[in-house]
Symmetry: C2
């Protein structure tokens, strides 16, 4: 088989065989196919598209390009003789998306093991690993052995990618990023699913964000992505539920690493923003059903609410932080989390109904403050961020706090204030609040 | 301006501005744009196409990416007070295409300076430089100064590319070769024309080959290419004539470097194959008219025939070989050119009308013999080759010589014999001879 023939076939609109896709992925992973051939192939895939069969074969080839985790022997997945499925969750990324911080301990407290590897932030979206690292001492570089032992022990782990999972996807993703071949549904879904399959998930809840703070800005794009993910999961023999959720304003109030950890801790104590709490409970209920832990939505929600109000979810979070060497005094009293030196509430410039908050602009303001990164590998400041005080639809009174900027530099504070102020728009008449979820898509 | 934006714009079917094209070509030539971004861009150009305006801008950007030759001050271009145009010729490549060897001295003998840089062979097509190097001592690496001085002195030079002309084209061509982005009309025409413009041509005759021994195998493709070249020349303010010529059998009889030089020498002495002689005279007549040396086809042909029969063309060839340090004893008596140790005439396996000769197969048989190269930089054996004894339409008698193989190795000879035999097909009924030219295209 020849690399050029595979590129030519796709260039001319042909359907690649499984063997051709595996040949290309293997060659690119090993390095025998150079970047410049892979990028020509990616552009041909982008423009000529891929059938569901090709997308599935690409996903499986990438999923098997490196190590794969087998979590099926986790003793904790057996509950009363019943084998629970290993369930995972993936978000397509948004602003203020701190869901995993609360979701993982909550679901684990319900008896479903959560062995989750997660990532860092880039651009206007944050990353769970960055957020966790604002807890002093918290380790995100566990070995595969430590990872598995911790799930066995306390039922939950939230860490960075430890094993060399789906290296083909990582390599291709980096190449797509610099060759204008990111925004392709088949390439996006195969990238997401290959990692989830390599990390041993039997069932997956996909949180597909749509809106001004998401990669998919239109419902049409989000639906195409959600359907693609669900079909692909089906083909791979996995149970998949996709939820299309709103990202036309930040999720919750806090945007910024330590600020989001603090908000998650509040929510675990049944305080904090209502939208964030409801979002987490909805996703948790889906996961409890997929795993086999709950039979129906009612049972799932009842169980989750119970573990939240009893403090079990909070205790599981605390045990996880402790197991991963985090300083529990910083979560027992969040005043001990990193704090910015300058905290400035910004008053509403007018009275009116809040019409919109451009979430991407809020995310970028936090990047400007030093709380995110424009390029991979940049260090970040965990203490900075923005806390919004209103959600779309709220009636806001002029002069009352609209949002608060947490900064460590006067100039940056000024810049963030202007940017976030401009991101808020007002209306004289009533504005409909935004829903949390738009669609639930299953095969 | 950002590289990613330019790739994205073309990916989405947009028309690139001149500034965007120049930005990309400059960046790629300098190395600030890496191969993997250029190949994604090339695939997008391939699949989304280019407007005539974009093709023109790409051509000009590549033409000006390195040195450019100015031949306008050649004193010999002034003939009786009239300034002749600098005229060049380009062939899209074929099998047995030794046209430049005879054309350049013939046109020069008619008083039109021929300062021609030419290339090496790759794959089934030969290259003029390789052919000339079968003359012992012949230098193809003249400096720009020596190149210009020789045209001033004797009116003709045939050498390899000396100045660093159109380096962007060279770099992009190598990348296209390994990324399945070769067969694009806008990319092909801009590649051809950028080199011709950089080398200072005012007027160009394009010999567009069509058939089983050419890159364009259908008339439709050849016409699209010819029209693209003519339109592009027009836009660049150059006079361009495209001739679509037949390449469904080798041109002339000889295929192989020294064998082709020998055939060109025969033709300069008014001997040799009729098709080759007529092909050269037709192209020469076009060039004499384009340069301003002849007013009409009749005057042009009369002049060329006169210079051929008077021996002036041959003497010009001989002067060129001498000026470029070639051993004139090897052209005065071609027995002194490199000769293969094994010369085997192969008899016709049957009687009948010759229906076809697959020219690409003949070319590849010569590569197998060592007379061509599969990869750049390979050394070649100048002495080997194949001489066909019949043209399509000939009535062939069983047992008489069909072709002759010149080889230096028994095994290779055997392989070439079988391959060339299989390339000949016969018919019981009469077969129409093939024309030399199909179309003449001017704006």
């Amino acid at each position: 088989m020849h690399t050029l023939d595979v590129i030519t076939k796709k260039r001319d609109g042909g359907e690649l065989s499984r063997e051709e896709i595996e040949f290309f992925i293997r060659g690119y992973t090993e390095g025998s196919i150079p970047d410049y051939q892979a990028s020509a192939w990616l552009m041909a895939l982008f423009l000529q598209g891929m059938t569901d069969r090709e997308t599935h074969d690409l996903t499986m080839a990438m999923a098997h390009s490196g190590d794969t985790l087998d979590l099926s022997d986790l003793t904790r997945s057996t509950e009363g003789g019943q084998k629970l499925l290993v369930v995972d969750k993936h978000s397509t990324g948004g602003v203020g998306d701190k869901v995993s911080l609360m979701l993982a301990p909550l679901v684990a407290a319900c008896g479903v093991p959560m062995a989750k590897m997660t990532g860092r932030g880039l651009g206007f979206t944050g990353g769970t690993i960055d957020k966790l690292e604002s807890i002093p001492g918290y380790r995100t570089d566990l070995s595969v052995e430590a990872f598995k032992a911790q799930v066995e022990d306390i039922g939950v782990v939230l860490t960075g990618q430890t094993a060399d999972l789906a290296p083909a996807d990582r390599k291709l993703y980096e190449l797509r990023d610099v060759t204008a071949t990111v925004e392709s549904i088949p390439l996006i879904v195969s990238s997401i699913m290959s990692k989830k399959l390599a990390s041993g998930a039997d069932a997956i809840v996909l949180d597909v964000k749509v809106g001004n703070g998401a990669f998919m800005t239109t419902m049409e794009e989000a639906e195409a992505l959600a359907h693609g993910l669900v079909r692909l999961g089906e083909q791979a023999g996995r149970q998949v539920v996709a939820l299309i959720s709103d990202m036309n304003q930040p999720l919750g109030w806090a945007v910024g690493n330590a600020l989001e950890v603090r908000e998650a801790i509040s929510a675990l104590h049944e305080s904090g923003p209502r939208d964030f709490r409801e979002h987490v409970l909805t996703v948790a209920a889906e996961m409890l059903q997929l795993s086999g832990r709950a039979r129906d939505p009612n049972e799932a929600l009842t169980l989750a609410l119970d573990k939240l109000s009893s403090g079990a979810a909070w205790r599981t979070f605390r045990a996880m932080v402790e197991a991963q060497s985090g300083d529990v005094s910083a979560i027992d009293d969040p005043e001990n989390l990193p704090q910015a030196s300058l905290v400035e509430p910004v008053p509403a410039p007018r009275s009116g109904y809040l019409e919109g908050i451009d979430a991407a602009e809020v995310g970028l303001a936090v990047v400007d403050l030093g709380g995110g990164r424009e390029e991979k590998g940049q260090p970040i400041d965990h203490s900075v961020g923005v806390v919004v005080h209103h959600k779309v639809g709220d009636l806001v009174q002029k002069g009352t706090p609209l949002f608060t900027v947490h900064a460590n530099d006067e100039g940056r504070l000024e810049k963030a204030r202007e940017r976030v102020l401009a991101a808020h728009t007002f209306s004289d008449g009533p504005v409909q609040p935004l829903p949390l979820f738009y669609r639930r898509i299953v095969e």
